[in-house]
Amino acid sequence: MSANPKGTVSTKTNGAAKTSAGARRGVAGGLATWVEAVKHDRRATFGACVIALFVLVAVFGPLFVGDPTDLVGIPMQPPSAEHWLGTTGQGQDVLAQLVVGTRASLLIGFSVGLIVVFVGALIGITAGYFGGRTDALLSLLFNVFLVIPGLPLAIVIAAYLPSGPLTLGFVLVVTGWAWNARVLRSQTLALRNRDFVAAAVVAGESNLRIVTREILPNMTSLIVSQVIGGTVYAIGAQVGLEFLGLGDVSAVTWGTNLYWAQNDSALLTGAWWTFAPTGLAVALVGFGLTMLNSGFDEITNPRLRMQRAWRAFLLGRGHEPSRSTPVVREHA
């Protein structure tokens, strides 16, 4: 029999205690907390709406706009009734490029977000679970990858491989997994020392079973928030690499849109509409994901919640929160 893990695990990264559900309800519990966060936290609601909107655009948007590579008008035209966001330096429709670019950029963003966490989890959990030499070696590996600057490494790797989405995804994973491994290692280490894991070890359960049944379910919320963080990273880094011309410059993505804007000297001709919408889209998606994450953090962090309740209690009785314990004489 395995013990039923209940209680809180503190994460070293943000100092917040995350409530974990029981082992078997782990994944469902994690998702339920997310649904709750989206329902009750303004920031999470906002984030979820933004992301949903962009996903809709990515899926259905291309059906409503023309071919983004078509030369449809005079180059560098400001927004007009015909071309809502104007035309590029080549005479293509900016709106069509933005909408079609959303699909490729989000696809790479979300897949890379998932893969970096997968690789990070594989290495981090192995290191934290087995400890000893395995841990020493794997920790050394991710620590080295953490100090080697990511962008130059990504550029060097990408330059040698055939340009395209696969190469892009590959370099983003190579330069992005180490942080996740580091965080998941310390989390695994903390769980490894908990009673219910010790009980499972004594009961002779297999390592794989302990990891999948006892450890992973207790990290659901952390992993989900890492996937979100990984996606933010992947979208930003992808746009940066493509801006440098390391993607497939003939494809239509957010990054190549900006690459062409820079290449066509959009700035020096004052054609703000060729770079402003794409940047806003990148930022909105990133901000939406971040808000989703921090709203979730708020729901799962009992200390934060209590402090809010405390503040509301005081304000509701006409008192300002103070450093010294406040005195509200309710019972004279």
Partner: protein
């Protein structure tokens, strides 16, 4: 005739939660007399540490003091503003925290944590402050070479001694000891308690000694107060409580410790779980665990009953 230094009247402290406030101290009446050792005992969650921090007004959120008065030398601590509190703290009431490891700043040396206190309250030069810090270490039996040590370089016992030295820095009239010896072994614990007792006789400050170890407390205290589920169950002279406890909970606590009557009885723990503060039992909060509960206990809250001089119990059976 003993004269009170702190008078607590109807003190209420609440912790605010999502589901509403939870009462952690409920209408507490208690007096601390000049120069005495007052012991406070009770299970964890009974409100002991909450009281200690409430006296200094350093209870962190989500705590709110919701009623009563705390008169220190006749002045109400609960009506003081931040600056008045700052001047009262440490000069009048100081405290030794539960875990010295957490209470000492890891990146400031021992001497730094003593002198900043001295400099904050007194006008004295840095050299003077350092010399006074050295004298404080002498008092608690730590060699002066340790002045420039950091917390992680000291043993658990030494850290707690440093905590005591800091507490004595301003020669306060009340020192609160919040389970000062829980993390220590028995021998170190005895040494430290004896040292505190000696210092207390020498300087004449009052001590509020908080612990869940009733046996130890009865040895060192003049008077003892027993808390149960945010309320005062019984208070009285230590010798009397030991000999003739009047609250069944006090009795239960005494029986739970073998050292009080060596060889006489095997220790017996009190049956049942400590009362929940979220949803406390009706009437007397101890009634679900009380072997002698009668019909009235779940219905009516027992008021304080004076049994003898300074001996009060909140129990229907004590009347």
């Amino acid at each position: 005739m003993p004269e009170p230094i702190i008078e607590i009247r109807d003190l209420c402290v609440d912790y605010v939660t999502d589901e509403g406030p939870v009462r952690a101290i409920d209408r507490l009446n208690l007096v601390v007399e000049r120069g005495e050792v007052l012991g406070i005992a009770g299970e964890s969650g009974s409100g002991k540490t909450t009281l200690a921090k409430a006296l200094l007004r350093i209870l962190p959120p989500p705590a709110v003091i919701t009623g009563g008065e705390v008169l220190f030398k006749g002045r109400d601590i609960l009506s003081m503003d931040d600056e008045e509190l700052r001047r009262m703290r440490w000069r009048e009431i100081s405290m030794v925290f539960q875990s010295a490891m957490d209470a000492l700043n890891p990146v400031i040396s021992v001497v730094g944590q003593i002198t900043d206190t001295l400099l904050a309250h007194d006008e004295c030069s840095a050299e003077e402050a350092r010399a006074r810090a050295g004298k404080l270490l002498d008092l608690v039996g730590i060699p002066r070479e340790r002045l420039d040590s950091f917390a992680h370089q000291l043993s658990g016992g030494m850290r707690q001694r440093v905590g005591i030295a800091i507490a004595l820095a301003m020669r306060p009239s009340v020192v609160i000891l919040d389970e000062p010896t829980t993390a220590l072994d028995v021998i170190v614990e005895r040494e430290i308690l004896e040292r505190i007792r000696e210092l207390q006789r020498e300087f004449g400050f009052a001590v509020i000694f908080i612990t869940h170890d009733l046996a130890r407390m009865l040895q060192v205290s003049d008077r003892v107060a027993i808390f149960y589920a945010a309320r005062l169950a019984e208070v009285g002279p230590a010798a009397e409580l030991r000999r003739a406890p009047r609250h069944p909970y006090t009795e239960g606590l005494l029986q739970a410790f073998p050292s009080v009557h060596p060889g006489a009885r095997t220790p017996r723990s009190i049956p049942g779980q400590p009362a929940s503060l979220l949803n406390p039992p009706s009437g007397c909060r101890f009634h679900p665990r009380c072997a002698r509960a009668i019909e009235i206990c779940p219905k009516e809250e027992p008021g304080p009953t004076e049994i003898g001089p300074g001996h009060v119990a909140a129990c229907h059976l004590a009347k």
